[in-house]
């Protein structure tokens, strides 16, 4: 919004015009009040609340006592925290590695204007419409070693102890997350690809570049910011994967899929330890902010510069 306004006086404008812009700016500032209000009530206040609760001794129902630094010391000394942190990053990286290439290729594919591609795009989109809990319950039923797909389709290799062997359960979680979220990122990439000017491809074709060369020298560089956006959503979003894992594995077997967000929930609402749960919430917020900032930096300083110079 402010961008559009500030570019206006760049032409050698008369004084009156710039005064008018000042006035318009003031009027526009008022428009941000509702958004600011919601941000304050739904983001800043709860954040402050969680920060304060991390120093409190509370079971979620009774009186709130003061715990001082006890929660922080006990959580930071708990090996469970480091297990959860490690798993969170593992799932984050694995999810990115699995989802990015698939959604990028699917995005490029569905960006084409052929009719069958549009039909397929609708099908790819379907998993996004399902709730995470429903997806988790469905997969659990499908993977039941005795009554699931393995028996139904007569495919014995599917009859694994999916939720009972730590590395299988972890792999399954990564797979189901990808199954659910690839459609969303495909959509982002599809939009990105459609923004690329046709003239670039036409020029490349005249120069004799094949499809593969066009992909690596036009599509991929042009998608730079789309990739950053999608990756930010994936990485920061992976910190909040909770519902799906909660229903699918409950953090098990043992603690092998107990990621940070789930750990927070189980401590807070199952074990009634709101203080330690709030400590984890604060850690989650800090990690999330740090990651988002880092990914924004990846975009480079010329973020607002054009990629279409000379066209």
């Amino acid at each position: 919004m402010s961008n559009a306004v500030s570019t206006a006086p760049r032409t050698t404008a008369a004084r009156g015009q710039s005064e008018q812009t000042e006035k318009r700016k003031a009027a526009l500032a008022w428009l941000t009040v509702p958004a600011l209000f919601f941000f304050l009530v739904f983001a800043v206040v709860p954040l402050a609340g969680v920060f304060i609760l991390s120093f409190a001794d509370w079971d979620g129902i009774g009186a709130i006592g003061i715990a001082g630094m006890d929660n922080w010391f006990s959580v930071l000394a708990d090996p469970g925290l480091y297990n959860a942190l490690g798993l969170t990053f593992l799932i984050m990286i694995a999810s990115w590695l699995v989802q990015t290439p698939i959604s990028l290729l699917l995005g490029v594919f569905t960006a084409g204007s052929q009719r069958y591609r549009a039909a397929l795009a609708v099908l790819y989109f379907l998993p996004l419409l399902l709730s995470s809990a429903a997806v988790a319950i469905a997969f659990k039923a499908l993977l039941d070693p005795n009554f699931g797909l393995a028996t139904g389709l007569g495919l014995p290799f599917l009859a694994q102890d999916w939720l009972g062997v730590p590395h299988l359960a972890l792999g399954l979680v990564i797979f189901v997350i990808a199954w659910q979220f690839v459609p969303f990122h495909t959509l982002i990439y599809q939009g990105g690809v459609r923004q690329i000017p046709k003239s670039l491809y036409e020029a490349a074709e005249i120069d004799g570049a094949g499809i593969i060369k066009q992909f690596f020298h036009i599509t991929l560089p042009q998608l730079k910011y789309t990739i950053i956006t999608s990756s930010t959503l994936m990485v920061v979003g992976s910190l909040t994967y909770f519902d799906l894992i909660f229903v699918l594995t409950g953090g098990g077997p043992g603690n092998s899929t107990r990621i940070l967000a789930l750990d927070m929930y189980l401590r807070g609402f199952r074990a009634n330890l709101m203080g330690p749960a709030s400590v984890i919430a604060v850690i989650l917020v800090v990690i999330g902010l740090a990651l988002a900032l880092f990914l924004q930096r990846l975009g480079g300083k010329d973020k607002h510069g054009s990629q279409l110079e000379g066209l």
Binding site: D59, K140, A141, L143, D144, P145, N146, F147, A159, Q160, D161, W162, L163, G164, V165, T249, G250, G251, G252, P253, G254, N255, L266, R270, A271, N272, L273
Partner: protein, 288 residues
């Protein structure tokens, strides 16, 4: 009353020519018999974790008597480190190692009733479960229950154990409870409400028709006219004659300790911790 009992598939037992287990040694020998037959000895919805807990509840009672858990319940220091707890854990891991539970039990959930289905489809020979599963098996088991193929016995004894074989564990009062903080007068009115307000004739009949025993004394006549009278009388007598009826651990303990308990039981069954570690981890939750 909803005690935990040992269900078994009579058809499979006849085929194998064996009797339901009376002792832990019987259990271990039946495990071998059924594994040789290609049938899983025990069905277990291990992913739900409280299902595995029922095994520990009974084993600890049979090995160490009710006193061991009472001490834990009262938060006595080092009560989880009782040798009976270690022996319970050891016995469980022996049973897991002997493939006593169906392959992939950690991927099976009790929510979908897949554990019950394993028993009535003949994929597993026995199942330790709450009596509340009876109604479900009757409904979904395609005449499994109606044809008298479902057997039920008390949990076996353990040689040298201190617990009375008549002791029961489970959910004693259909989840009705009275706060200990209530005054005597409040407790009296609560009891009166339970008796006259909740457990009316209609409610009692509904319980019985669904294959459950309501927590009311002197309903023998009603039970006898039910088509499930064998099972209902078995449950009624078990509950009535039990010298000690232990409430399910995850409900008896504080939420903090209960969550740690389920988490550690999961790891005990997966053999990722030893019985000693299990006892120590749980001991750290005392008083929390």
């Amino acid at each position: 009353m909803a005690p935990i009992v040992l269900f078994y598939n009579k058809e499979l037992f006849e085929k194998a020519g064996v009797q339901p287990p009376k002792t832990w040694d019987d259990v271990m020998s039946l495990v071998k018999t059924f594994n040789d037959m290609g049938v899983a000895p025990f069905s277990l919805g291990g992913q739900s974790r409280w299902t595995s807990m029922m095994w520990l509840e009974y084993l600890l009672d049979r090995i160490g008597g009710p006193e061991v858990f009472n001490a834990i319940f009262e938060g006595k220091p080092d009560s989880w480190l009782d040798p009976a707890v270690i022996e319970t854990g050891t016995k469980i891991q022996e049973l897991v190692s002997a493939e006593g539970f169906i392959k992939g039990f950690s991927s099976i959930t009790a929510d979908s009733n897949a554990d019950q289905a394993l028993l009535f489809t003949g994929k597993a020979a026995m199942m330790l479960h709450g009596t509340w599963t009876y109604g479900g098996m009757k409904k979904n088991g395609q005449n499994f229950v109606q044809d008298g193929k479902l057997g039920f016995v008390q949990f076996p004894t353990v040689a040298g154990g201190k617990g009375d074989p008549k002791n029961g564990v489970g959910n004693p009062a259909q989840y009705m409870s009275i706060s200990t903080k209530a005054t005597d007068q409040e407790k009296e009115s609560a009891k009166k409400f339970f008796k006259d307000g909740i457990l009316t004739e209609t409610v009692i009949d509904t319980y019985i028709n669904s294959g459950s025993v309501p927590i009311v004394n002197g309903i023998e006549d009603k039970l006898d006219t039910s088509e499930d009278k064998d099972f209902l009388n078995f449950v009624y007598d078990l509950a009535k004659n039990a010298p000690n009826f232990q409430q399910s651990w995850d409900q008896a303990l504080s939420p903090t300790a209960a969550e740690a308990l389920l988490n550690n039981i999961d790891q005990l069954f997966l053999k990722s911790i030893t019985p000693q570690q299990f006892a120590e981890n749980m001991n750290a939750t005392l008083g929390k």
